[in-house]
C-alpha cells in the first residue's frame, strides 16, 4: 500500500509545483468532460422531458432500451464512432479522429442515455398534479416542462453530475477516439492508463487523486448552481 502514500505525496507535489504539462492535461480533461456533459445535458434533458410527458405506444419499451444503453461498453461506443469518423468512415472528411472534438462527440453519445434515462426518472418522481398546476396557471408546454424540471432539480443535477462523472472518468473512448496524443488529446485517465502500463503506479494514483479533486470542485460548483 506504500504506493498510495507515495501517490498522495506525488499528487501534492504535482499540484504545488504547478507542473505545466500536468496543468495542460488537467485543463483539457475539464474542457472535454464539461463540454460533453454540457451537450449531453442540452440534448438529453429536453429529450427525457419529451419522453416523460408524451404518452405514446411503445414508451415503456423505449425507456427499457434507454436503460439498456446504460450498459453500453465504452469501447463499443468508441468503435462505433471510430468507424464513423475514421478517414474511411462517412464523416471521415471532418477529420475528427484523434481530436478533442471527436472525444467530445463520442463522450456526449456515451453519456446521453444516462441523461435521458435519469431525466425521465427524475421527472416521473414529480407529482403529476404539479404539471396540472403549471398548465392551469397558463404555462405553455415548454414552460410546463421547465417548471417540472425545476421541481426535480435535485434529481436532475444528480443525473448531470453522474454524466459528468462518467465522462471525466472514462478511458475507453478517450484512448480509441482521442488516441492519447501527448499535448493534444491526452487527458488524465489516458495518462493514468499509460503510466500504469509503464509501471508507475504511484504516479497513477497521484493522477487519480487529482482527477477526484477536479471532480469534487466541479460538483461543488454544480451544487451551488443548483441551489439557485
Amino acid at each position: 500500500m506504500s504506493e498510495i502514500i507515495e501517490g498522495i505525496y506525488q499528487a501534492i507535489n504535482l499540484i504545488l509545483t504547478l507542473n505545466p504539462e500536468m496543468l495542460e492535461i488537467t485543463l483539457r480533461t475539464i474542457y472535454i468532460s464539461l463540454s460533453s456533459t454540457l451537450f449531453a445535458t442540452i440534448i438529453g434533458v429536453p429529450l427525457g422531458g419529451l419522453i416523460n410527458f408524451k404518452t405514446f405506444k411503445g414508451k415503456r419499451g423505449l425507456v427499457n432500451i434507454i436503460q439498456t444503453l446504460y450498459s453500453v461498453p465504452t469501447v463499443l461506443v468508441g468503435l462505433f464512432v471510430f468507424l464513423l469518423i475514421s478517414r474511411a468512415g462517412i464523416l471521415g472528411e471532418l477529420n475528427l479522429l484523434f481530436t478533442p472534438t471527436g472525444m467530445i462527440l463520442c463522450q456526449t453519445i456515451l453519456i446521453m442515455p444516462i441523461l435521458v434515462g435519469f431525466t425521465i426518472n427524475a421527472l416521473s418522481g414529480v407529482e403529476k398534479n404539479i404539471e396540472d398546476l403549471a398548465m392551469s396557471l397558463g404555462a405553455n408546454q415548454f414552460q410546463t416542462i421547465y417548471t417540472i424540471m425545476k421541481e426535480a432539480k435535485y434529481a436532475l443535477m444528480g443525473a448531470v453530475i453522474l454524466g459528468f462523472g462518467r465522462a471525466i472518468s472514462e478511458v475507453g473512448v478517450a484512448l480509441l477516439i482521442g488516441g492519447n496524443i501527448r499535448g493534444f488529446t491526452r487527458v488524465i485517465t489516458t495518462t493514468i492508463s499509460l503510466e500504469t502500463s509503464r509501471g508507475n503506479i504511484a504516479l497513477s494514483v497521484a493522477l487519480g487523486i487529482i482527477l477526484m479533486l477536479i471532480a469534487l470542485v466541479i460538483n461543488l460548483i454544480l451544487n451551488i448552481i443548483q441551489e439557485k
Binding site: D132, S136, K150, E151
Partner: protein, 355 residues
C-alpha cells in the same frame, strides 16, 4: 352572453361513467355554485372546463370558441381561466415565487410582477408570508396563497374547488367577501364547488346540483325551496319530506294524504307526490290555535337538539317525524320538554310538492 357552454359532455374513467350528459350554460359575470356529494364529479368537471382533461365526448365552448377544435387556442383559453385546486399544491420555493408564477410565464415585467403579487397577497392577508417557504405554510395559509396565485392573473373565469375548506370562519368570511367583490368589480365569472350549502346559497347566483348527472339547475332559493326531485331534496337537507297521495281539490289547493295525516298545499299535484315543509315555516303552540293556517297537526316531542343559535326539535306526528326550528328564547318561554304534546301549524303556501 354565455362565457361558457357545455354540450352533451360525458366523461368516463375506464368503464366508470363519472359525468353523464352534462349541459350547462354559464352567463358572463355570474357566480355558479357546483354542489353535490363526495365523488360526484365536481372536480372532474372543473378539470374538464380548465382543459386539463379531455372529455370522452361532448363539447366545451369558451367565449364562443370550441375548445376541442383548435389545439393551439387551448393555451390562450387556459390563460383566461384560473383554478384553485381542492388539493393543496405548491411549487417549491417561496410564497412570492408561487404567486408570481402565472405572471412570469406570461412574460410580465419585474416591477409589475412585484406590484401585483404584493397587492394580491395583501388582499388575502398574506403579505407577511411572501418570503416564506411555501411548503411550510399551514392548511389555511396554503389555501389563501393558492387563491392569490390565481387572482394575480386576473382570469375571466375563476374555477374554485372548495376554496374555503381549510379556513376558519373569520378567514372564510373574508374570502367570501372577496369573491363577491371580484364578481362585482371585475365582472369575473366564477364557478365554485362547495360542501358548505350555506356558502353555496350565499355566494351563488345559480346553483347546479350534480351527481354524475345534473339533477337541478336554478337560483339558490329555487334549489333550496323547490327541489325538483328526491335527490336534491335529500341533498340540500330539505327536512320534512312526506310521500303521499295527492288529490287536486280546487284550482288553488291540493290535498295530500299519508296515513292519518292530511296536508294542504297551494301547489298543484296529483297521484304520488312528495311534499316538503321547511322546518322554519312550522310554528309550534301548546294548544290548537284558531288561525288561518290550513295545516294543523298534533305530535309529541321526541328529541331536542341545541345547535347554538337555534334549537332543533323532532316531533312525531302519526308515523312521520317532523323537524322544527325555534329560537332558544321561545323554546325557553314555552318550556318544552321531551314527550310533550304540541301543535304544528303551517300554511298551505309552505308545503312544496315535487316528484
Amino acid at each position: 352572453m354565455y362565457l361558457l357552454e357545455i354540450k352533451d359532455l360525458n366523461k368516463k374513467y375506464g368503464n366508470k361513467k363519472i359525468l353523464e350528459n352534462i349541459n350547462l350554460k354559464v352567463k358572463t359575470g355570474i357566480n355558479l355554485g357546483l354542489i353535490g356529494p363526495t365523488g360526484c364529479g365536481k372536480t372532474t368537471l372543473l378539470r374538464l372546463i380548465d382543459l386539463l382533461e379531455n372529455p370522452t365526448s361532448g363539447k366545451i365552448i369558451f367565449d364562443g370558441i370550441n375548445t376541442s377544435y383548435s389545439k393551439k387556442d387551448k393555451l390562450q383559453i387556459r390563460r383566461r381561466m384560473g383554478m384553485v385546486f381542492q388539493k393543496p399544491l405548491t411549487f417549491k420555493g417561496t410564497v412570492f415565487h408561487n404567486v408570481a408564477y402565472g405572471l412570469k410565464i406570461r412574460g410580465e415585467n419585474k416591477d409589475q410582477v412585484q406590484e401585483k403579487v404584493y397587492r394580491n397577497l395583501e388582499l388575502l392577508g398574506m403579505d407577511e408570508y411572501a418570503e416564506r417557504n411555501a411548503a411550510s405554510l399551514s392548511g389555511g395559509e396554503t389555501q389563501r396563497m393558492a387563491l392569490a396565485r390565481v387572482l394575480v392573473t386576473e382570469p375571466d373565469l375563476l374555477l374554485l374547488d372548495e376554496p374555503t375548506s381549510n379556513l376558519d370562519p373569520l378567514s372564510r368570511e373574508k374570502i367570501e367577501e372577496l369573491i363577491l367583490q371580484l364578481k362585482k368589480e371585475n365582472k369575473t365569472t366564477i364557478i365554485m364547488t362547495t360542501h358548505d350549502l350555506i356558502q353555496g346559497q350565499q355566494l351563488s347566483d345559480e346553483i347546479v346540483i350534480l351527481n354524475h348527472k345534473i339533477f337541478q339547475i336554478g337560483k339558490p332559493e329555487e334549489i333550496f325551496r323547490k327541489p325538483q326531485n328526491q335527490f336534491v331534496a335529500d341533498f340540500v337537507g330539505v327536512k320534512n319530506v312526506i310521500q303521499g297521495q295527492a288529490i287536486l281539490t280546487s284550482e288553488k289547493l291540493t290535498m295530500i294524504k299519508k296515513g292519518n295525516i292530511t296536508l294542504y298545499s297551494s301547489e298543484k299535484g296529483n297521484g304520488k307526490v312528495f311534499a316538503s315543509i321547511r322546518p322554519e315555516d312550522i310554528s309550534l303552540s301548546l294548544e290548537k290555535l284558531d288561525n288561518s293556517s290550513l295545516n294543523k297537526l298534533k305530535g309529541n316531542v321526541i328529541q331536542i337538539e341545541d345547535v347554538g343559535a337555534i334549537i332543533h326539535l323532532k316531533v312525531k306526528v302519526d308515523s312521520e317525524i317532523f323537524t322544527v326550528y325555534m329560537t332558544r328564547k321561545s323554546f325557553l318561554d314555552m318550556n318544552i320538554s321531551i314527550g310533550e304534546t304540541l301543535w304544528l301549524e303551517f300554511k298551505a303556501t309552505g308545503v312544496h310538492l315535487f316528484q
